[in-house]
C-alpha cells in the first residue's frame, strides 16, 4: 500500500468514525473494532471499500474482524491478499 492509498484509507475510516459521531484522531496501530469505536455492522462498508480499492477477495480469506481492526492490520491484509 503506497502513501496515497494509505491516506485515502485513513480518510475513509475517518468518515466511518464521523458517521458514528466520533471525531477523535486515531493512530495506525489503534484498534477500531475491539475498542468499540466502530461496530460490526460497519464491517460491510470497509469490506466493500477494500474489495473495490484493493481487489481483496474476502471469499478466499478466513475472515476475522482482527484483520481490519486497525490501519496497520488493513495494510498488512492488503499487502498479503490485495491484487493492486
Amino acid at each position: 500500500m503506497d502513501i496515497n492509498e494509505k491516506t485515502k484509507l485513513r480518510t475513509f475510516l475517518q468518515s466511518c468514525l464521523v458517521e458514528r459521531g466520533d471525531r477523535a484522531e486515531f493512530q495506525d496501530d489503534e484498534s477500531l473494532f475491539d475498542s468499540g469505536r466502530l461496530d460490526s455492522l460497519t464491517i460491510t462498508r470497509i469490506v466493500v471499500y477494500l474489495e473495490q480499492e484493493f481487489g481483496v477477495n474476502f471469499a478466499h480469506v478466513n475472515f476475522d474482524v482482527d484483520l481490519i481492526d486497525s490501519v496497520q492490520a488493513i495494510e498488512s491484509l492488503v499487502d498479503t491478499v490485495g491484487s493492486h
Binding site: 468518515s15 468499540g36 460490526s40 455492522l41 464491517i43 477477495n57 471469499a59 478466513n62
Partner: protein, 456 residues
C-alpha cells in the same frame, strides 16, 4: 461537566487511585490465575447443576442419580471433544475446516434425528439422549465461539478448564454467550492492577445502573400497570392502570385504541429496562473479575436508526447473528454479487436477522425439539417468524439509508433527532407485538396491529 465526571467516575484517575489504595490487597491477589481459577470452579458447578435442573423439567429425561450423572458426563465429553477439535483445528478434514459451524450444527441435528427415531422403550440411553438434546442448545453457540477461535488459530495454548469458563458461565446469561468466548474475554482482560481497578469500577457502575433500572421497572409496574405493587400501595392504591401489552393483544381488534398506543410504547421501555438490568448484572460480574467487556445494552432508546437500536439493544445476541450468519454470508457472496451490493447486503441481513434469528429461537424450543415435534416448533414460532421478518426488513432499509448517505452524518438539529428517535421507538414498539411471549394467536396480533390504525 460535573455530571459527566460523576457518571464517568470509573475513568476518573482520582477514583481509580482511591480504589487501588482501598482494595490494594484484593487487586494484588486477583491475578489472572486466581480470577480464572474461581471462574473455572464456578463453571464446573454450573456444568453439573444446570443439566440437572433442565432434566427435572422433563419427565422422560433421566431423573435418577445414575441417569443424571451420565448426562452430565456425556455433556462434558462432548465439550471436551469439541475443544480437541478446536485446538487441533488444522488437522481436521478439509470440509470441516471450511465449515466448522455448519458441521457442529449438522452433528447436533443428526443426533436429534437419532433420538427422535428411538422408541420410549429403548431403555435408559434414550433418556440420556433426551437429556443431552435438551441441554446442548444451551451450549451450541458457546462451542461455536470456541471453534471460531480455533479457526483463527487463537485457541492453541488454551486449556480445557479455561474454556469451561465460557462454556458453562457462572456469571450467567442466556443461550446467548455474554462476553462471547474465551478469546474475546482474553482481549479485554486486565493485565495490571490499574486495569483491574478500572474494570472493577466499571463493573460497580453497571451494578448501580442495574439497580436503577430495577427501580425503574418496579415504579413502572406500580404506577403504570395494575393491580400494583408496594409502590401502588405507597401511592394509596392509585395507578394509571394501563394494561400491559400482552393482556391487550389477546383482545385483538377489540382492544381500546389509544390505550393500546400508550401500552406499546410502555412495553418497549419495559423490555429495554428489563434487558438492560439483567445484562448489566452479567457484565458487571465479568468486569469485577477483570474482564472489561462491552455492555449488553447501551442506550438503545437514544438510537436514531433501526440498525443502531439493534446494535445497542442486545449487543451479544446481535454479535452472535453477525458472527455466525451475517459475516459468513456477506463474505461468501462477495464474488457472486460484487456488482449487486444491495442484493448482497439484503442477503446477509436476511441471513442474520431473519434466518439466524429464527434458527436461534427454534433451538430455544428445547422440549418440543428434543421430542421431535417439528410441526409444533414451527407452529409455535409463527409470530416469531413474522417478527424476525419485519426486523430484517427494518434493518436492511436502515443500513441502505446509511449507505446512501455515503458517510455524511445525520442532521444534528434537536427536532430532527427527536423525530428520528421517535421513529425508531415506533418501529420497535410495533414489531414487538409479534415478539411478545405467550400463546396469543398470530392473527389476533395482526388484528390488534390493524386496530391501532383503525383498520380492523
Amino acid at each position: 461537566m460535573k455530571i459527566k465526571r460523576l457518571t464517568q467516575f470509573h475513568e476518573d484517575p482520582a477514583v481509580i487511585a482511591w480504589w487501588r489504595a482501598w482494595m490494594g490487597w484484593m487487586l494484588k491477589w486477583l491475578t489472572p490465575f486466581w480470577r480464572r481459577s474461581i471462574l473455572v470452579a464456578g463453571a464446573i458447578y454450573v456444568a453439573v447443576s444446570n443439566p440437572l435442573s433442565y432434566l427435572e423439567k422433563v419427565l422422560e429425561a433421566p431423573n435418577d442419580l445414575l441417569g443424571s450423572a451420565l448426562v452430565v458426563l456425556t455433556i462434558f465429553c462432548i465439550a471436551w471433544l469439541i475443544y480437541q477439535a478446536t485446538v487441533r483445528f488444522n488437522s481436521l478434514p478439509t470440509t470441516i475446516r471450511r465449515h466448522p459451524q455448519l458441521t457442529l450444527h449438522l452433528l447436533f441435528w443428526g443426533f436429534l434425528a437419532i433420538a427422535w427415531n428411538t422408541t420410549p422403550t429403548a431403555g435408559p440411553w434414550r433418556a440420556v439422549m433426551l437429556g443431552i438434546a435438551l441441554f446442548f442448545p444451551n451450549l451450541i453457540w458457546r462451542c461455536g465461539y470456541m471453534l471460531y477461535s480455533g479457526q483463527n488459530g487463537r485457541a492453541v495454548g488454551t486449556s480445557f478448564p479455561q474454556q469451561l469458563i465460557c462454556l458453562f458461565p457462572v456469571f450467567g446469561g442466556t443461550h446467548t454467550p455474554y462476553g462471547k468466548g474465551l478469546e474475546f474475554l482474553s482481549k479485554f482482560e486486565a493485565k495490571t492492577e490499574e486495569e483491574l481497578a478500572r474494570s472493577q469500577l466499571a463493573g460497580i457502575k453497571l451494578l448501580i445502573l442495574a439497580s436503577l433500572w430495577h427501580l425503574g421497572l418496579v415504579i413502572m409496574e406500580g404506577v403504570l400497570y395494575g393491580p400494583g405493587n408496594h409502590v401502588t400501595r405507597a401511592l394509596g392504591g392509585h395507578t394509571i392502570g394501563i394494561p400491559n401489552l400482552a393482556q391487550l393483544v389477546t383482545q385483538g381488534a377489540g382492544a381500546p385504541r389509544y390505550t393500546s398506543w400508550v401500552s406499546i410504547y410502555c412495553e418497549l421501555i419495559w423490555q429495554v429496562l428489563h434487558l438492560a438490568r439483567n445484562g448489566h448484572g452479567v457484565i458487571a460480574v465479568l468486569r469485577l473479575f477483570g474482564f472489561n467487556v462491552f455492555r449488553n445494552t447501551y442506550k438503545p432508546l437514544l438510537a436514531e436508526s433501526i440498525h443502531e437500536f439493534w446494535n445497542r439493544y442486545y449487543y451479544y445476541f446481535k454479535e452472535l447473528l453477525v458472527n455466525f450468519f451475517f459475516i459468513p454470508v456477506f463474505m461468501q457472496l462477495g464474488g457472486m454479487l460484487r456488482k449487486w451490493p444491495r442484493l448482497r447486503l439484503f442477503a446477509a441481513v436476511f441471513a442474520a436477522a431473519f434466518v439466524g434469528n429464527m434458527y436461534y429461537h427454534l433451538l430455544n424450543k428445547k422440549s418440543l425439539l428434543a421430542h421431535g415435534d417439528v410441526f409444533g416448533v414451527i407452529y409455535s414460532a409463527r409470530s416469531d417468524f413474522f417478527y424476525a421478518f419485519l426486523l430484517a426488513i427494518g434493518i436492511y432499509i436502515s443500513m441502505l439509508r446509511k449507505e446512501r448517505r455515503g458517510g455524511r452524518p445525520l442532521s444534528a438539529a434537536r427536532v430532527a433527532r427527536i423525530l428520528r428517535i421517535f421513529g425508531v421507538w415506533t418501529f420497535f414498539s410495533l414489531i414487538f407485538i409479534w415478539n411478545l411471549k405467550g400463546g396469543t394467536p398470530f392473527f389476533t396480533r395482526v388484528y390488534f396491529f390493524l386496530n391501532l390504525f383503525g383498520l380492523a
